[in-house]
Amino acid sequence: MAYESIKTELNGLFENAGDSFGMLVLELAAENLLPLVTRLKEEFGFALFLDVTAVDYPERQPRFEVVYHFYAVKHNKRLRLRTRVPEADPTVATLTRLYGSANFMEREVHEMYGIKFAGNKDLRPILLYEGFVGHPLRKDYPIDREQPLVEYRTSG
């Protein structure tokens, strides 16, 4: 399997194809994510869902970019997917039905960026705590804003 066959066979499901240090990068609309990843997994052997994260561009429309990394174990190929979601409705489909690893990683992206993963039933905070206000990895969250779970003790 070469990158070329992915590009020709999945044509229409993505908008743009690029290359990043030898890795195929596909840009796609959020609604095509689930059909594309399903085919990547079933037809192209992308069995390992490596990573998902988001990047915040406050001045751009749509504001958030959600970035996925996959690995095709048999073919020894890696792939990156990028999709954009707006601040008003930052929703992408969950991949938990395809990959168990999506569970924890989507929870992290949800609490850090406020990206909603439609269909993921367990979006509890994972690195933060219940009741944390805001999304700390958004660019408009100041680095020095503190939200201690237990009030600091002051001397005297």
């Binding site: 240090f21 490596l50 994260t53 690893s101 690195l127 680095i143």
Partner: protein
């Protein structure tokens, strides 16, 4: 009945909470809570220049800081388009394998101690301490080395370092034989680890497992072989795999991997060339101190690298190294300034925790300890 293990429990090395729903002594359902060691790595990275992030990467997997250092530096160097010098390349490979031994030793030591094997623990910790003292001689720290620099290393090897390395490898071999003797056919150890926490390759991939845990299921997947980086394509080594994917296999795969690492370190001692350690590139490497004191250009060069940070061209890159725990990936987005626009870490432990409940459910409560130990959960890279 609900049993709450952690976040601070004597039998879990690392702060993590396991809420286990029991039926008798069998775990019916397990819920893993992590995040107790979260310190905002990614947020901090966006506010520091590229060199100042190096100490943060030490604290990802703090049992093998050098592996994190090198993966991070390689990511930044990829965006900069820098090719490191041959000496630096071989030295990084050597140190990565050396630190891998320390990491595996720590993992096995902690696991067997939690199962009650105090002698094996002390033998293994002795090896680890020799390695840490030795790395201390090189880097100035026992655990958090911050030894890498973008485009090179902090300093070259001290006098006699490689001779001492060979002594320690011999010491390792003598002591690891004792560990094999103490554990491999030990009835108690086998009863606790055989057929507990069994994992199939499909399951492992489904849950995003990499590294020794994935290999213990029989799949020879290793970035050092599949996409060789540094000097791995010039080395002879095997990728040890397990048969069943249970706790015993995870122990044994790590033992075999350490032997491979020792063999690689020996090959690298022979391959290590002389020559400069740092690249000749004014964008990233500090000028020599003698020149900074006498030349205006060098003072300015020094000032700009320290105050503004190195300027990394705009772009994005995902790069991963085979860390002792699995695939350690860095996803870096640069906007061309002196600080990363976004730096994301794919820590293997985080994903290992994401699927750990499947390895606990259906087994006994006491197996939680054996399984958790063999996962080698490192809070630093799990919670970042």
């Amino acid at each position: 009945m609900l049993v709450n293990l952690g976040p601070s429990h004597p039998a879990t090395h690392g702060t993590i909470q396991v809420i286990a729903e029991l039926d008798g002594e069998t775990v019916k359902k397990a819920d893993i809570h992590c995040g107790y060691l979260h310190r905002g790595f990614e947020k901090q990275a966006e506010h520091h220049n590229y060199h100042k992030i190096i100490p943060y990467t030490d604290r990802l997997n703090y049992c093998s800081s050098l592996n994190n250092n090198f993966a991070y530096a390689a990511t930044v160097e990829a965006l900069l388009g820098i090719e490191i010098t041959p000496r630096c390349k071989y030295l990084r490979t050597l140190l990565a394998e050396y630190n891998r031994i320390a990491d595996h030793v720590t993992c096995i030591a902690a696991t067997v101690m939690e199962l009650g094997a105090m002698t094996a623990f002390l033998y293994l910790m002795t090896i680890r301490d020799y390695i840490f003292e030795h790395l201390n001689h090189l880097t100035g720290a026992r655990l958090t080395y911050s030894y890498v620099r973008i485009g090179g290393m902090a300093r070259d090897l001290p006098e006699g370092w490689l001779e001492r390395l060979e002594e320690i490898l011999k010491f390792y071999e003598r002591y690891i034989k004792r560990i094999h003797g103490l554990l491999d056919r030990n009835r108690i150890f086998i009863d606790r680890t055989r057929n507990t926490g069994v994992l199939s390759t499909e399951q492992a991939l489904h849950w995003g497992y990499t590294g020794p845990i994935l290999r213990s299921t029989g799949a020879a997947i290793d970035i050092r072989k599949d996409a060789p980086y540094l000097a791995y394509d010039e080395l002879e080594f095997e990728v040890p795999v397990g048969i069943k994917g249970d706790n015993y296999d995870r122990y044994y795969v790590r033992m075999c991997e350490m032997d491979q690492s020792v063999s690689m370190v020996r090959q690298l001692i022979k391959l290590l060339p002389d020559g400069p350690l740092n690249v000749q590139d004014h964008r990233v490497v500090l000028p020599e101190k003698e020149r900074v004191y006498v030349e205006t250009e060098s003072v300015i060069n020094h000032f700009k690298i320290i105050m503004e940070g190195i300027q990394v061209p705009a772009g994005e890159v995902y790069l991963s190294h085979e860390a002792p725990n699995g695939e350690l990936g860095f996803y870096l987005v640069s906007d061309g300034s002196g600080r990363p626009y976004k730096l994301h870490v794919r820590g293997p432990s985080f994903l290992h925790m994401g699927g750990m409940h499947t390895l606990l459910e259906g087994y006994q409560l006491a197996d939680v300890i054996a399984t958790f130990g063999s996962m080698n959960m490192i809070g630093g890279e799990c919670d970042r």
